[in-house]
Every structure is written in structure tokens, then in C-alpha cells.
Amino acid sequence: MSERPLRDLPRWALPLLVLLLAAQVALHRATLPPAPTGADLPAPPRHEVLALMSLAEHTAMARLLVLRLQSFTTAPGKVTPLASLNYDGVAAWLDAALRLDPWTQYPLLLAARVYGAVSQADKARQMFEYVAERFQHDPDRRWPWLAHAALMAKTQLKDLPLARAYARLLRQRATGAQVPDWARQMEVFILEHMGDVESAARLLKALIDGGQVRDPNELRFLLQRLDELRAQTDASRK
């Protein structure tokens, strides 16, 4: 189809188009919602509603839920401290994702390594309790997160009885062939009062060297955490 040249347009047409486009951009900028804060974390929709919204694609919806949860602390141009989040809400979001996709490990990784890594002991403890409870639903697949919780209870919370309780739970429930020996021997290490940060570094290194972490993003994340732990170890030696 041939087109007429621009000069054949009415004189007002182009300015009107530009003006309306500018008005649209201005309106959009003026009505941008404020970035969410930790306190804004709402309760997730009910499972039935999520199932309906997902049109039975539960796995995809579970992934979107965890990404949405992550976005509450990483809004554009603003980083919200994790500790400012309402952790009952966090647990509800993680649970909603886990209920939709019981095979995914993502919510447990977030609970153990991200939301459990805050400096507020009560919030970290809440996340580790969450991990310990959900571990029992599928021990042979979810053992890495309880192992991490046990180490963090020991090194971060300095709560040796809690760490031992988690390690014992791990030894008793995670009995599958895929669970490595070192995970089942953690209780011994904790009982022997070995170095705290060094143990955490050892667990991470064993996870990485064992080839169980194949996801590139997770590997990068763990290597970064390993470097941090080693730096802490070096600093304490000096």
C-alpha cells in the first residue's frame, strides 16, 4: 500500500500526536506508585485463588511468587533491609510457593540463605524454624537447607542446643543415598565445638566441590558467600 508524504497531513496532526504522547509520558511519571517497603508486604493470596490465577500452571506461579517476594526488597532505586520485612508475611509467601510446587527448592533457599541471614536473631530463628518444619515433608531432598540452618544456629545465633537439634533431625530423617556423610556427621562436629565460621566455610566448600550445585547463579551466590566467610576467618585469625 502506497503512502502519502508527511506534508499532505493536516498541519495540526503531528503536533497533536507529539503533545498527546508527551501527556501520556507525563501522566505516567506523575502517577508512579511509591516503591514498596518491607512493611508493605501483604499476605499472599489464598492457595485456591493462586491456583485459579495460574490456570493450573502451578510451577510457573510458584516461580512468580518468589520473584515477587524478592522484589519487595529490591525495588528500583531503593534497597529495603531484609530485617524490615514482616517475617510472618515472608513465611506465608514462601509457603504459598512451596504449596503450589512442592518439588522446588527455591523457597527453602530463600528462607535459609537470604531471609535467615539477617542480623536480628528472632527473625533468623523464625526462618530456621520454618526450614526445619518444611524439611520434614521431604527430608531427602530438603536436607541442604536444614544443614545450613544448623550451621547458622551454631555460628550466627550461638545457640548450640538448637544447632544440635537441627543436626540430629538431619541425621535421623535424611537417610536417602543422596544425602552425603558429612551432613549426617554434623551433629558430631557441633558437639565437638569446632570453629564456627570455618565450619560454615567447610559446609559451603563441600557443597560446591561435591558438584551438587549446578545452577550458575546459585554457584556464583555460594562462591560469594564462601569468600565472605573466608574473609571473616582471616580477619579473626589476625
Binding site: 485456591e48 485459579l52 490456570l55 493450573a56 510457573a60 520473584l67 527455591y106 545452577d215 546459585e218
Partner: protein
């Protein structure tokens, strides 16, 4: 039989001429690109997230494009007077209808195979094959329904709206029943409500599309069970035959 085959082949050529396959290529690229972008925000399970999001997107996108293709194709044929001309020929009406249906089913099958092909770099081939066959079954049901309403209503907008509504209802029926049954569980005194009864009745008339082509088949092929493929295939063929019979019933009653 020859006429059915010729009409089906012409439908495939029509899809080629309308650049439907190019459109699907763009749809596939957008899906893969979008899932790659979103999976970059993940801390773990990057590939799994990518598969889950792109497969969910592809199911919806392919169904939508196939629905539009069928509605527009039938409307164009009617507007051009081609349908009236064909029906006036010494050719059984069933030949035209089944030929068109066969052509649309063929396009849907090719689209499902292409969609599953994009999963192959990340998912096991056997899982991708299972997903492809289930998606093909889903598209067969959708094109058969779209053909039925497009021919019956002769209004492309209404036909497309009905097709989308039918698809969404069939996909959401499992969750709707869950909500309805849960509401009764919370309030047993309410007894059997009309809505609950209607929903259960309606569910018997719809295919269980919520059980088709699920992302977990691709991500957890060893543990995710779901509906056996044989049940899905038999159920789809049965529903396809039902929709074709309904379409032929309406077509044979129509005066030119």
C-alpha cells in the same frame, strides 16, 4: 476423502500465506526472551524458572494465536462468498468441514512441535515430547471449538471471545471446583449450593485442559506424574469428535 485432504492441505497453505508460522516464530522468540529476562532475577533454579515461565507463556500464546487464526480464516471465507460457493458444489458439507478441521489440527500440531523444540536445550527429550503431544491435544480441542463457533455464529469477534472464554474456563475448572468445594467444607450447613452443582455439572462437559502440558513434566520428569498421556490423547480425540459432530449438525441444518 480426497476432497477432505485437499481442503486440509489448502488450510495449511493458507497458514503459510498468512505468515502464521512467522508469527509463531516471533511468539516463541518473545517467550524465550521474556523467560530469560525473568530468570536472570533468580538466585537459584534458573533453568527451571525459565522452563516454567516460557512453557506457561507458550501454552497461552499458541492457543490465542490459533484461536484468532481459525476465527479470521472462517470469517474471511464467509465474507468472500467462498464458503457459499463451496457448499453449492456437489461436495458433501462434511468434506469441507472435516477438511478445514484437519488443516487447523495440522497447523496446531506443527506449532506444538515447534514450541516443544524451544524446550529441548533445557529439558529432556522424552519430557519435551510428552509436553508437545499434550500441547498438540490442547490445540486440537481449541481449534475444533473455534471452528464450531466461527461457523455457527459467523461473527469473528463473538467466536473469538467464546473460544477464549471456553479455554479459560476449561483451564480454570479444577481451581474453581477446589474453591467451591472448600467453601462447602468451611460451611457444611450450606449444603449443596446451586453454584456448586452448576460447576460440577459444567465440569463434565469440558475437557480437563488443566491437566494438559504442565510445566512440571519438563522440570521434574522423574517425579511429576499427572494425567497419563494416553488418557489425554483419547480424551482429546473424543472431544474433537464431539465438537466436529456438533459443527456438522449445525452446518447441515443451515440454508445457503
Amino acid at each position: 476423502m480426497n476432497a477432505v485432504f485437499l481442503i486440509a492441505r489448502e488450510t495449511l497453505f493458507e497458514a503459510y500465506r498468512d505468515r502464521i508460522f512467522w508469527l509463531f516464530a516471533v511468539v516463541l522468540l518473545i517467550g524465550v526472551g521474556l523467560s530469560l529476562f525473568l530468570s536472570e532475577a533468580t538466585i537459584t533454579e534458573t533453568v527451571e524458572t525459565q522452563i516454567a515461565l516460557s512453557s506457561a507463556y507458550l501454552r497461552l500464546a499458541t492457543v490465542l494465536v490459533m484461536g484468532v487464526f481459525v476465527s479470521v480464516s472462517i470469517a474471511r471465507e464467509a465474507n468472500d462468498g467462498l464458503l457459499q460457493m463451496l457448499l453449492a458444489l456437489p461436495l458433501p458439507r462434511a468434506a469441507w468441514y472435516l477438511g478445514r478441521l484437519g488443516g487447523f489440527v495440522g497447523v496446531g500440531t506443527l506449532v506444538a512441535i515447534a514450541a516443544a523444540g524451544t524446550m529441548l536445550p533445557w529439558a529432556p527429550a522424552s519430557a519435551a515430547a510428552r509436553w508437545a503431544l499434550a500441547l498438540a491435544c490442547e490445540l486440537w480441542v481449541v481449534v475444533a471449538f473455534a471452528l464450531l463457533v466461527s461457523v455457527s455464529l459467523a461473527r469473528p469477534t463473538a467466536a473469538l471471545a467464546l473460544t477464549i472464554g471456553f479455554y479459560l474456563l476449561a483451564r480454570a475448572m479444577g481451581a474453581l471446583l477446589l474453591i467451591s468445594d472448600n467453601a462447602r467444607a468451611y460451611d457444611p450447613a450450606a449444603g449443596e449450593s446451586i453454584v456448586n452443582g452448576v460447576l460440577h455439572g459444567l465440569s463434565h462437559l469440558l475437557p480437563r485442559l488443566d491437566q494438559y502440558a504442565r510445566a512440571e513434566w519438563l522440570i521434574y520428569p522423574d517425579v511429576a506424574q499427572g494425567q497419563p498421556l494416553s488418557i489425554i490423547a483419547v480424551g482429546s480425540l473424543l472431544y474433537l469428535a464431539l465438537l466436529a459432530a456438533a459443527g456438522l449438525f449445525d452446518l447441515y441444518r443451515r440454508n445457503l
